[in-house]
């Protein structure tokens, strides 16, 4: 199987949902396509069931501040052939950006989607466990990987470390943790 076959198959199956589909000229000849965000689960299921794309390589997201949108990027590969498909779904950059989860298609989408949620703030509808994975609990809701993020955690930015006396804000140190994780063994 090569990239052109996958491209033709995708185009004929989803005439409206798949846009700007093309094959990259440089190796590894990635098939790139923009997908309507409502149809993303259908396209992924089609790739898995009909074209042997049985490996989800990763999910990530890019913040386009000037275009007022997020791009959720799916890297899809296979154990049986060497084509990589890169699907992009545009999500409007509003109060509650969200997209459907692809966990029903690939089991390992779970952690990738959790990571995208806590770092970029894109909610995955139908995800069983949308909680923190790599950040601390109190950083949830700050979305540090967005382009308009000030640069440091809001809690840490309040430390009076700056040399510039005017910019020093009132310290809230020590931080108010909800609890320290090691205290959890008191649960039972």
């Amino acid at each position: 199987m090569d990239g052109e076959t996958v491209l033709d198959s995708l185009k004929s199956q989803f005439q409206d949902a798949v846009m700007d589909a093309m094959v990259d000229s440089q190796p590894p000849h990635i098939v790139c396509a923009n997908v309507d965000k409502e149809k993303i689960v259908d396209v992924c299921a089609y790739l898995k069931d009909n074209l042997q794309f049985n490996r989800l390589s990763g999910i990530t997201s890019v913040d386009f501040l000037d275009k007022n949108k997020f791009e959720v990027v799916y890297m899809i590969a296979s154990y049986d052939h060497s084509v990589i498909v890169k699907l992009k779904a545009d999500v409007v950059r509003d109060e509650n950006p969200s997209i459907d989860t692809v966990i029903p298609v690939w089991w390992n989408a779970n952690w990738y989607e959790r990571e995208v949620y806590e770092l970029m703030g894109i909610y995955f509808n139908g995800h069983p466990e949308m909680t923190v994975l790599v950040l601390t609990d109190d950083m949830m809701g700050e979305w540090p990987f967005r382009k308009d993020y000030p640069g440091f955690p809001q809690t840490a930015a309040k430390y009076p470390y700056s040399d510039d006396q005017e910019s020093v804000v009132e310290s809230e140190y020590p931080l108010k943790w909800k609890s320290w994780p090691s205290e959890r063994h008191y649960l039972e």
Binding site: Q26, P27, P28, I30, N54, R55, L56, S57, G58, T60, V62, D63, V73, M75, A77, Y79, S82, I84, K86, W106, W107, N108, N110, W111, P128, E129, M130, T131, V132, L133, V134, L135, T136, D137, P144, F145, K178, S179, P181, S182, E183, R184, H185, Y186, L187, E188
Partner: protein, 398 residues
């Protein structure tokens, strides 16, 4: 005087506040079950993470992982640095495979710049990749043997690893964080007399690997703890989405060096090492076989390498210029890391800094696959199974 009962009650309240709604489901226990916490400092691997095990007697019923104790925000850091400044940061994702991390980053940027390194540089990069794989597998396997109480093996392997690190140090000048490849070439040429030294060391490693295999296969206690334990079938590994030795031990001959060949790998003859059963024993054997295969790859590369320039004639930037403009576009080039597929997805907007960097690392996938593996095993087998994946926590919390 503080009432002991009050403290315990308060702690329970704190814990209940901490745990989220969906997580509370996992903490519902019946009369025969209890929770056991392993971590964040754990006997499994260097690097902090927490496993909560729901156990019933000696058997694990369910497990949950908590990551992020060492999150560094490397992807965000790379956005704020120029391309060449970002290169040493990629070393720090996983200190055992820093050359693979460098390679993934550099090859993505090369795609964006549309340049290709000359043949000599490509061969040197292949050699460095394989040396990195040898030292990573030697430490991974050796440390694993310590977890099973097989300390002799660890001392053997760490001794041999020093020779390999010496070879790498002769070229790059560093032991673990190398920062060696450059966009369109490599930093240094092979030093004089390095070839003879390398051939000696590789022959020695190759011979020692036979001894290791014999020791591992003949030790009765070791076999009892590894054969048939932590088995992942072909269906399991495909469901979990693994790559690397853990995948190949289940019998799938999938290797990024064969599927998406970069550099001069197409000119080199090597076999993808696979196992049969997908248990711990197979994973370790696949790694030792891969060490021997890497020795063979380096020998071929040393035979085929010819004198020549290290950089192409026309570079879009000066060799020592700290900043350069990179054309807008996106690049994603998979590279075989000692632990599986690593690829760095770079989005460029035409400035001297990347717009967005995303690291697709192998350890992230390996760690995610841990909870299904730990169902219905004994507590004593948990470190044995988890450590056999040889995942690097530093890269999960990149």
């Amino acid at each position: 005087m503080v009432n002991k009962h009050d403290v315990k009650k308060r702690m329970r309240q704190l814990a209940a506040d901490y745990i989220h709604e969906p997580q509370q489901e996992a903490y519902k226990l019946d009369d025969t079950e209890m929770m056991l916490h392993i971590g964040p400092q754990n006997p499994i691997q260097p690097g902090p993470f927490l496993i909560d095990l729901k156990i019933s007697g000696e058997t694990v019923r369910d497990s949950k992982l908590y990551m992020g104790y060492g999150h560094k925000g490397i992807e965000k850091i790379l956005e704020s640095l120029t391309y060449i400044q970002g290169l040493p940061i990629t070393d720090r994702m996983c200190y055992l495979s820093s050359l693979s991390n460098n390679e993934a980053y550099v090859s993505s940027v090369e795609r964006l710049l549309d340049i290709e390194p000359p043949e000599r540089s490509q061969y040197i990069r292949v050699i460095m990749q394989e040396l990195s794989r040898i030292q990573s597998h030697l430490l991974g396997t050796g440390e694993y043997a310590t977890d099973l109480g097989f300390v002799t093996m660890f001392l053997f392997m760490i001794r041999e690893r020093e020779y390999v690190l010496g070879l790498i140090e002769d070229i790059t000048g560093a032991r673990i964080t190398h920062c060696f490849p450059r966009f369109g070439g490599v930093r240094e040429d092979l030093p004089e007399g390095w070839r003879e030294k390398a051939i000696d060391v590789l022959a020695m490693i190759n011979e020692k690997c036979e001894t290791y295999k014999e020791l591992f296969s003949s030790d009765r206690t070791y076999r009892m703890r590894t054969v048939g334990i932590g088995t992942l079938t072909k269906e399991d590994v495909i469901k979990v989405g693994l790559t690397g030795p853990a995948l190949r031990a289940a019998g799938i001959d999938y290797d990024v060096r064969k599927v998406y060949p970069t550099l001069t790998y197409p000119d080199i003859d090597f076999k993808v090492q696979t196992g049969n059963n997908g248990d711990i024993f197979d994973r370790i054997m696949v790694r030792i076989n891969e060490i021997q295969e890497s020795c063979w790859i380096i020998e071929q590369a040393l035979d085929q390498i010819k004198p020549g320039p290290l950089f192409p004639d026309e570079l879009p930037y000066g060799r020592r210029t700290p900043s350069m403009r990179v054309p807008p576009g996106e690049a994603y080039v998979p590279v075989e890391d000692p632990r599986g597929e690593i690829a760095i997805y770079i989005v460029s907007d035409g400035t001297d800094k990347p717009y967005r960097v995303k690291v697709r690392g192998p350890s992230f996938a390996l760690m995610q696959g841990l909870p299904p593996m730990l169902e219905n095993v004994y507590i004593a087998d948990v470190p044995a199974i988890a450590a056999s994946m040889d995942s690097c926590n530093s890269e999960v919390d990149r």
